[in-house]
């Protein structure tokens, strides 16, 4: 049973990491969409993510479903506790989805402009909120005995959580810029390469103070060693990403950035373990991998579903990226 519970903690971690890496790049593209000056460039940005964004978002849906199935109390506590934030995430995700598909349907300056704005803000808002949510979970929440959040909305907007939000934004901005430099052609690709460099500094400068404060969550956990290793790995691989980008090896830089994201998420996961949602007012009431999982039969059934399904999913993902492997042409208008 314990092995199953730990397996599901890891599997949900993998789904969230998959989401962060994949939707991370198209959310990041949404950020840079604000900075592209020419209309043709923005169109190319949209084209670069058009066939992928929907599949990327399915990782979020699947992670949500898996969390619901494997750790129902965690799903209930987090989603109801972060109510307003969740509603804003939905607002952002809905407008950006519709924006991506509707923007190019009608040739009209105002129409395109409106969807450009919807797409950018619809990307930035969820990105920041994901970070804020992770920051809050790391610190723990004020809960009652059955796990309902009792801290109120404004307690969620604390400095550490907000810092995590900014880290999320700079991290995805870096990731998205690397994606653009890999996926586009010509001047704009070089521009994106420069954006990636700037974003990398921004990421590092926001990450360092956040880590400096966040270390206390690592050493207060049960497994001090693992999160520290992942933090070191994050920093090392992230530097490699910078070097690759500087040398113009966009693909290598993008892969390094993906690994960076994975390592940082793993640092968070291992710092929390075996807690999933620590409780600040009474440590006994915290939700852990062991006290809040579903039954053995459910975890086992789900494991079989995952073992059958996930290889197929990886197959689709590789397949679709191969079909659309060409660089996107930019119409310089």
């Amino acid at each position: 049973m314990e092995a199953l519970q730990i397996t599901w903690f890891l599997l949900i971690g993998i789904l969230i990491i998959g989401y962060a890496i994949l939707d991370g790049f198209d959310l990041g593209v949404g950020f840079w969409h604000l900075f592209a000056k020419k209309k043709g460039e923005r169109t190319a940005f949209i084209h670069s993510i058009e066939p992928f964004w929907d599949g990327n978002e399915v990782w979020l849906l699947t992670a949500g479903g898996a969390l619901f199935a494997a750790f129902p109390p965690v799903y209930a506590t987090v989603f109801s506790g972060f109510y307003l934030a969740m509603m804003l995430v939905l607002l952002g995700l809905i407008f950006r989805a519709v924006g991506i598909e509707f923007r190019n349907k009608i040739e009209n300056e105002k129409w395109v402009k409106a969807w450009d704005i919807a797409f950018s803000f619809g990307s930035i808002l969820p990105t920041v909120l994901y970070g804020v949510a992770i920051g809050n979970v790391l610190q723990g929440l004020e809960l009652n005995a059955i796990g309902d959040y009792t801290g109120g909305f404004f307690a969620l907007l604390n400095p550490f959580a907000l810092f995590c939000g900014i880290v999320g934004l700079t991290m995805f901005a870096h990731h998205g810029a690397l994606y653009l430099s890999m996926k586009l052609d010509g001047d704009i690709a070089q521009n994106a390469q420069k954006w990636a460099q700037k974003a990398w500094y921004a990421f590092l400068f926001t990450l360092m103070p956040t880590l400096a404060y966040g270390v206390k969550f690592c050493i207060s956990g049960d497994y001090r060693f693992l999160p520290m290793i992942f933090i070191v790995l994050t920093l090392v691989v992230n530097s490699a990403s910078f070097m690759f980008n500087k040398k113009g090896k966009a693909q290598a830089a993008f892969i390094a950035s993906s690994v960076t994201i994975a390592c940082l998420m793993l640092a968070v996961a291992t710092a929390l373990f075996p807690n999933v949602v620590p409780c600040t007012n009474n440590p006994e009431w915290g939700l852990t991998v062991f006290n809040s999982s579903s039954s053995q039969l459910t975890l086992l059934s789900m494991l079989i579903i995952a073992l059958i399904g996930m290889p197929i999913v990886l197959g689709y993902t590789v397949f679709i990226h191969r079909v659309f492997k060409d660089k996107v042409k930019v119409d310089n208008k």
Binding site: P51, D54, G55, G65, F79, T298, F324
Partner: protein, 452 residues
């Protein structure tokens, strides 16, 4: 404000808006696959043109379905934390399975269908069109599994455990397959899918008729209408047959719901079918009833002396709101009849090669476009309201299922946000559809030039 009512209003609003779109994409998805198959078989460019045009309509609709679908998955946790804790052991798995088995498949191949025409072989393109339709149909399966378990729970046991000194009840899975194929899964799934197909096929029939009336691209839309008439007839007939079977299952497994659908208060044999009437929850009777004697007994049990349980057999606090259940069920039924009539007349005309010659008939078809959408919506209203006051039938009451952590004001705020956002999306959807119809299909010449 009452937080339970607010949570229910929010769920009704978001699910009903969401459910405008998936049925249409299921129906259109299979029609597009049919067009691609015909093109694959005989190379007739008209079918290519049909596939191309309706895929554009599909894309506009699909994205709103996806976007508003995320709301639904979040909502169990955000607004129904009590429910999530109670059913998570069983209800979460189908949602995860829906992502793994259906959404990934659908979204990947949709990318090819929409943007990959020139990048893959004709065969691969055809296959993608199949996978998109299949993905949509499979996702419906998993979500129907989840919903059916709420209606007719199976393969579970309820356990009580102490959590931090508080007694908590929850349903725990004991048999996976019994929970998946619970008594209402297959009857409901077949009715949901056929119902969804009606939306797509009548949409093609009706909007094509509307274009012919307007005199836009008449050749193309005549062809389009001809391809839709037989599917319309077949699909609505099937919907009625499986709907009838679904009714049998409701009679057997959820008698209070059936009694509410039919407005039956007293347990009786020879139970009458009420065609019109105003059920009175307080007075436990119906006003202005127009009834066909014995028909409900006949339909449920095949003979007049089948006993039908009446609402008075259930304590008042266990009865669903009868008027809403009755009217949503009956409206669905009447709208189904209307569709069957339109399809039947259409087939007669089609057999006489006169389908496109009757302007009155074309007008009726155009008027029918919203009917299947509405029939699907009220059908679900009947199913969900008929289950009340339970969120999980006979196990958990709706009032015990909400998120206690969320202040009513925040729920109200989000209802306002969704109302505004969805009103805007609805307007945009109609606007883009109209725009697409104005543009019409791409010419055969340009499609052929593109193919080379």
């Amino acid at each position: 404000m009452d937080p339970v009512l607010l949570a229910r209003v929010q769920f009704a609003l978001t699910i009903m808006f969401h459910y405008i779109f998936p049925p249409m994409t299921i129906g259109l998805g299979w029609m597009i696959f049919m067009y691609n198959t015909r093109y694959q078989e005989n190379g007739n460019p008209l079918f290519r043109q049909l596939a191309q045009f309706w895929t554009k309509i599909f894309a506009i609709t699909f994205v709103i379905g996806v976007a508003t679908g995320i709301t639904m998955e979040f909502q169990f946790g955000t607004n129904w934390a009590g429910y999530s804790r109670f059913v998570g052991d069983i209800f979460g798995a189908p949602l995860a399975a829906e992502g793994v088995f259906a959404f990934f498949l659908e979204s990947s191949f949709l990318g090819i269908l929409l943007y990959g025409r020139k990048r893959v072989s004709q065969k691969m393109y055809w296959f993608s069109s199949f996978m998109v339709a299949l993905g949509a149909t499979m996702s419906a399966f998993w979500i129907v599994v989840a919903n059916s378990w709420q209606q007719t729970p199976a393969g579970y046991e309820v356990v009580t455990e102490m959590v931090n000194g508080v007694e908590v009840q929850k349903a725990v899975l004991v048999n996976f397959w019994e929970a998946v194929f619970n008594p209402s899964t297959l009857p409901r799934y077949s009715h949901v899918i056929t119902g969804a197909l009606t939306v797509g096929v009548f949409f093609i029939l009706g909007t094509s008729a509307w274009q012919i009336l307007k005199g836009r691209n008449t050749e193309f839309f005549r062809m389009s209408m001809r391809t839709a008439i037989i599917p319309c007839f077949a699909v609505i007939m099937l919907t009625m047959v499986v709907g009838h079977k679904h009714g049998h299952q409701v009679a057997e497994t959820q008698p209070a719901k059936l009694a509410a659908f039919e407005g039956i208060w007293e347990t009786q044999t020879h139970a009458p079918l009420m065609l019109f009437g105003l059920p009175d929850q307080e007075g436990e009777k119906n006003h202005f009833a127009i009834q066909v004697p014995g028909m409900v007994s006949l339909m449920v049990g095949g003979k007049f002396d089948t006993e039908i349980q009446g609402l008075k057999d259930f304590p008042p606090e266990d009865r669903p709101p009868v008027a809403i259940a009755f009217w949503s069920f009956h409206l669905m039924f009447y709208m189904g009849m209307w569709m069957a009539l339109i399809a039947f007349i259409g087939v007669i005309f089609w057999l006489n090669k006169k389908l496109l010659d009757h302007r009155v008939y074309l007008k009726l078809c155009a008027f029918t476009v919203p009917i299947p959408f509405l029939a699907n919506e009220v059908g679900w209203v009947a199913a969900e309201v008929g289950r009340q006051p339970w969120v999980v039938y006979n196990l958990l009451r709706t009032q015990d299922a909400i998120s206690k952590a969320v202040p009513a004001g925040q729920v109200l705020a989000s209802i306002i946000m969704f109302s505004l956002m969805y009103a805007l999306l609805f307007g945009l959807w109609i606007y883009l559809l109209k725009n697409q119809f104005r543009k019409g299909p791409e010419s055969i010449e340009s499609l052929e030039a593109e193919a080379k």
